[in-house]
């Protein structure tokens, strides 16, 4: 149930409450998954792609050198290694990083129904920006 203000009145708009509900759900799910997968990673439930010892040798290097030394590719290639202890953690990280897109998709119909064209456009543009960031096509490096 949504929190309300200290005087018992509801000040948040419909779209704001809808956004908060998805955010609350996604944040909690992401956090739980992150902790569970990290514990599994630490106790060695699934062998990591990069061993703990090798990781300790490489975490002081720039990311480019780390990727080269571990033969790791950028972008969504980690999905293929999801069974590995270290990449298992990415599920929680992706949930936390992806929940905002879900929040925007949740409120988009509310703006459309209200014929709020400006905020419909802003919500669509924000989703596009976040999807572009998440797509992995924006390559960079040292």
């Amino acid at each position: 149930m949504a929190d309300i203000s200290a005087n018992g009145k509801q000040y948040a708009s419909e779209e704001q409450l809808a956004y908060a509900a998805v955010l609350d759900w996604g944040m909690k799910l992401g956090f739980v998954v992150l902790v569970v997968t990290f514990v599994l990673y630490l106790v060695g439930f699934a062998a990591p792609q990069v061993s703990h010892e090798q990781l300790a040798q490489l975490w002081s290097k720039p990311v480019g050198e780390y990727l080269k030394a571990t033969h790791t590719h950028t972008g969504w290639t980690w999905v293929a290694m999801i069974g590995k202890g270290d990449y298992m953690n990415f599920v929680g990280i992706v949930l936390l990083s992806g929940v905002t897109v879900l929040c925007y998709l949740r409120i988009l119909p509310i703006f459309i129904v209200a014929r709020d064209r400006v905020f419909t456009a802003i919500a669509v543009l924000e989703v596009l920006v976040l999807v572009l960031a998440a797509s992995g096509i924006l390559a960079t490096g040292h």
Partner: protein, 321 residues
């Protein structure tokens, strides 16, 4: 703070503590040599120290009224063996997690305003992608120098910037009126409803381009910059500015975090202990708020930022490695 959240955090702490202990026990006979790791300590020692340090950073961040990221990146980047690329990736996740955790409560109570946040967050999140790409493309030394300079600038800002509880906005600007960037909230301390509106929206949008770039480049979060722009420039009440700024980080840092994640600059071994440490520290910090001396904590935070900023700058200049 809900009991369930405290319990969840306590369980998380216990699980991670147990796992770290287990890993420590399992590896106790196999200390990795200095030549291999650059450190005489076993692999699990740095993540364990990171967990403890971020726990205290979480306490100090709450008491000092700053986000975790602004303390995390310069301190961990300056005093831990991790490369700045991974520290910034973790810093963004730390700032993001804090914002995600606070977001639902701030939105539900009407303290944070979605309509105020959305246009600004769109500009800032697009800029944060650029900042993240530039930050990952630049040599670490250059980023260290820029980071150190920025942190020292933040210290100056903390000294000089005034805050206005209820800024006077005689008339909303045409853009904020068109976007209906206004609202009403109940101020518990004043025991009254506060109507608010904003002005100078175009200037605010321009400044959020720069804020987004810095957030992405340094992985800092950007509450330290959001609040003055929302409060002092645009005229939002202080509580609305702080709440909306915190919520906005969940959007702005998301876009930059994706860039770091896709470039391989997010390591679970650095990110997860930091994230849990900061969150647990924040829970303790909230409880200590009632008894802590605000001015003393503020001085501690400024002192820590001064040290960390100087360290980053001198490290970048090759003077203090």
């Amino acid at each position: 703070m809900s009991r369930r959240l405290v319990m969840l955090a306590a369980v998380a702490c216990g699980l991670v503590g147990l796992a770290l202990s287990g890993a420590a026990w399992a590896e106790s006979t196999a200390v990795v040599k200095l030549a291999e790791t650059g450190s005489a300590m076993p692999w699990w020692a740095w993540p364990a120290i990171l967990f403890v340090v971020t726990f205290f950073l979480g306490i100090v961040a709450v008491l000092g009224g700053v986000g975790g990221g602004v303390l995390f990146v310069p301190i961990v980047g300056g005093f831990f063996p991790f490369h700045l690329d991974f520290v910034r990736g973790a810093g963004l996740m730390v700032a993001l997690a804090g914002a995600l955790a606070a977001g639902p409560g701030l939105l539900n109570t009407g303290m944070a305003s979605l309509r105020l946040a959305m246009p600004l967050a769109l500009i800032a999140s697009a800029s944060a992608i650029v900042g993240a790409m530039v930050g990952l493309a630049l040599p670490a030394q250059v980023v260290q120098i820029a980071l150190g300079t920025t942190i020292l600038g933040i210290v100056l800002l903390m000294f000089l910037a005034k805050k206005s509880e209820y800024p006077i906005v005689d008339q909303a600007c045409p853009l904020s009126s068109a976007l209906r960037m206004n609202g009403v909230y109940f101020d518990v301390a004043a025991n009254r409803e506060v109507d608010w509106k904003v002005h100078r929206t175009v200037k605010g949008l321009v400044l959020f381009v720069g804020i987004g770039i810095m957030a992405g480049m340094f992985g800092l979060g950007a509450g330290w910059a959001n609040v003055p722009v929302l409060n002092l420039l645009m005229g939002a009440p202080l509580k609305v500015s702080v709440a909306t700024s915190k919520f906005m980080l969940s959007i702005v840092d998301t876009s930059a975090a994706w860039v770091y994640l896709n470039q391989g600059a997010v390591l679970a071994m650095i990110t997860v202990p930091s994230l849990i440490g900061i969150m647990l520290g924040s829970l303790v910090g909230v409880r200590l708020l009632k008894v802590a001396s605000a001015s003393m904590v503020r001085k501690v935070v400024i002192g820590m930022l001064l040290l960390a900023g100087s360290r980053a700058l001198l490290k970048g200049l090759g003077i203090w490695n």
